[in-house]
């Protein structure tokens, strides 16, 4: 495969660019061509940085021509959700209101880290306004369309980032995840997505949604690409007050270790209910391949979800209260009244949710003494149609179409656990994901399991090709 092809992995590109078998400029120009062809349909990008990206690629080529090391991601085109600060670009966070803000003065820490590793930023990606949604049906900027079926959502809130990788427009992207906003679009678009442990990757320079639940992480089409991107970003950062002081623990070098010694379970009860049979079958397929049969029950997972909803709504409303007072008409109608309702939640409810969080965290921590990685479906069903009705039926129960997409992701982000969504291979008409979850700071275990599944052909992220 040529590194100019849509399916080239980040590491294939970086290897070729470093060895001067291809130029970063040509790789980035090819990515910009693909974006020009497909993005008018898919609507992944809200800002393109073509000239800047080409200039950056030329700089990388010069470094390599001069015998220098341009980094492990040299010349790899990437995109970021438009809530990451990019120097010289106004950070939109999916909103109309922030269009009036001045351009960011510096890159977000995570963006700077990928650029230091040699990756080339080609643009900023669409999202739900202020990250409050699972669909990327953004009224201001239009919906992002799923590359596997453009009549369907890409998932959200990091939908543009996931779809750009799924369509082969870029090899890597960044998103944020408060309740599932990396894992849900990764599953619906058929790519890999990692929500690291809370505090593992700096959120400095990222517009927060609900600060006590917000994480940032990468999307990719291979486990190794995902690991290299994560490794480039993880580690302490004094600019983010919640970033852990724990040193980076690189994962890419551990992928060959296999799964020997890892205790792998299947999350039961809540995580096996209210899902389409296809989603449960995808999970079983992954479990069989890993020889995992032990059912692990996490008590009160549904209440954990309720608590996450209350905390998210309260913190999100607090973050935007001033604009809700002054500029309510400029909010996306899809988020405005949800933010307003969040502003009216009594403090006693919010604090009870935080106390429940401490209780749930302690219970789950005990369970993870007996198991290393737990499998769940990533989403309860594949991508719904854009503009689908507000509710749907799952297992004969009526559920909210959009909110229910996070039913299996919310309990984990609620307590900061690392979780990786991996796309099941040959899922049928539409992608589905399996979610891997581990104890805090044990991303390595997730990567080792994901690598085994990929090696065995159980998970895979081929480019979603354009339909005729």
């Amino acid at each position: 495969m040529s590194v100019l092809d849509e399916g080239a992995s980040a590491l294939e590109i970086a290897g070729a660019v470093a060895a001067r078998r291809g130029s970063a400029r040509a790789v980035v120009a090819a990515a910009l061509d693909r974006i020009a062809k497909r993005d008018p349909t898919l609507n992944c990008f809200t800002t393109l940085l073509g000239d800047r990206a080409l200039a950056e690629a030329e700089r990388i080529d010069r470094v390599i021509a001069g015998g220098g090391d341009a980094g492990p991601l040299a010349g790899v085109p990437f995109a970021v959700k438009n809530l990451f600060d990019v120097a010289g670009v106004t950070t939109l966070a999916g909103s109309r209101i922030y269009r009036d803000n001045p351009p960011a003065g510096r890159d977000a820490t995570a963006v700077a880290a990928l650029r230091r590793a040699g990756a080339v930023l080609v643009g900023c990606a669409n999202m739900d306004e202020f990250a409050f949604g699972f669909t990327t049906e953004n009224t201001h900027y239009g919906p992002t369309r799923n590359p596997h079926d453009p009549t369907r959502i890409a998932g959200g809130s990091s939908g543009g980032s996931a779809a750009a990788v799924a369509a082969g427009l870029v090899a890597l992207s960044l998103g944020s995840d408060t309740n599932g906003s990396i894992r849900v679009p990764a599953a619906l678009c058929g790519v890999f997505g990692l929500k690291p442990t809370y505090g593992r990757v700096s959120r400095a320079g990222v517009v927060l949604f609900a600060g006590s639940l917000d994480h940032v992480g990468p999307f990719a089409r291979s486990v190794r690409d995902l690991a290299v991107a994560f490794d480039a970003m993880q580690g302490p950062d004094p600019l983010d007050p919640v970033c852990a002081e724990r040193p980076a623990e690189p994962c890419a070098a551990t992928l060959e270790r296999g799964i020997a010694g890892l205790r792998i379970g299947i999350a039961g009860d809540h995580f096996g209910e209210l899902a389409d049979p296809d989603a449960l079958q995808a999970l079983e397929r992954a479990a069989r391949a890993l020889g995992a049969s032990r059912r692990v029950v996490f008590p009160e997972a549904n209440r954990a979800r309720f608590a996450a909803m209350l905390i998210t709504s309260s913190e999100g409303a607090q973050a935007h209260l001033d604009n809700l007072r002054r500029r309510a008409a400029d909010f996306d109608p899809r988020t405005r009244d949800r933010f307003r309702a969040g502003a009216l939640i009594p403090a006693s409810h919010y604090l009870h949710a935080q106390r429940f969080r401490a209780w749930f965290k302690a219970r789950v921590r005990e369970i993870f003494r007996e198991v290393d990685v737990v499998l769940t479906p990533a989403t309860p069903f594949p991508a719904p149609k854009i503009g689908a009705p507000a509710t749907t039926r799952v297992a004969d129960v009526e559920v909210p179409m959009r909110g229910h997409l996070g039913v299996f992701t919310q309990p984990w982000s609620f307590i900061g656990l690392p979780a990786l969504s991996a796309p099941i291979a040959d899922p049928g008409a539409l992608p589905l994901g399996v979610q891997l979850v581990a104890a805090p700071f044990m991303e390595e275990s997730l990567f080792r399991v994901a690598a085994r599944l990929e090696q065995d052909g159980v998970v895979a992220a081929p480019v979603a090709s354009a339909r005729p």
């Binding site: 442990t197 309720f306 209350l310 009244d337 307003r340 502003a343 009216l344 939640i345 935080q354 209780w359």
Partner: protein, 56 residues
């Protein structure tokens, strides 16, 4: 949760909500308060403190 309840709660936090949006806000808030009720029915030990610190 009625539209009038929304109006009064919003006044407490100084958040103007135009009359035509109050029904929608009331519906969303009703859902959140239902979730809160189900959450608060669960008996938490008295010594559980909220502390967003995560350790392996």
């Amino acid at each position: 949760m009625s539209e009038s309840d929304v109006e009064q709660c919003a006044a407490l936090v100084g958040l103007p909500i135009e009359p035509e949006s109050r029904a929608a806000v009331a519906e969303i808030l009703t859902g959140l308060l239902t979730a809160a009720r189900l959450l608060m029915e669960f008996p938490l030990p008295g010594d559980v403190e909220p502390a967003p610190i995560f350790r392996p």
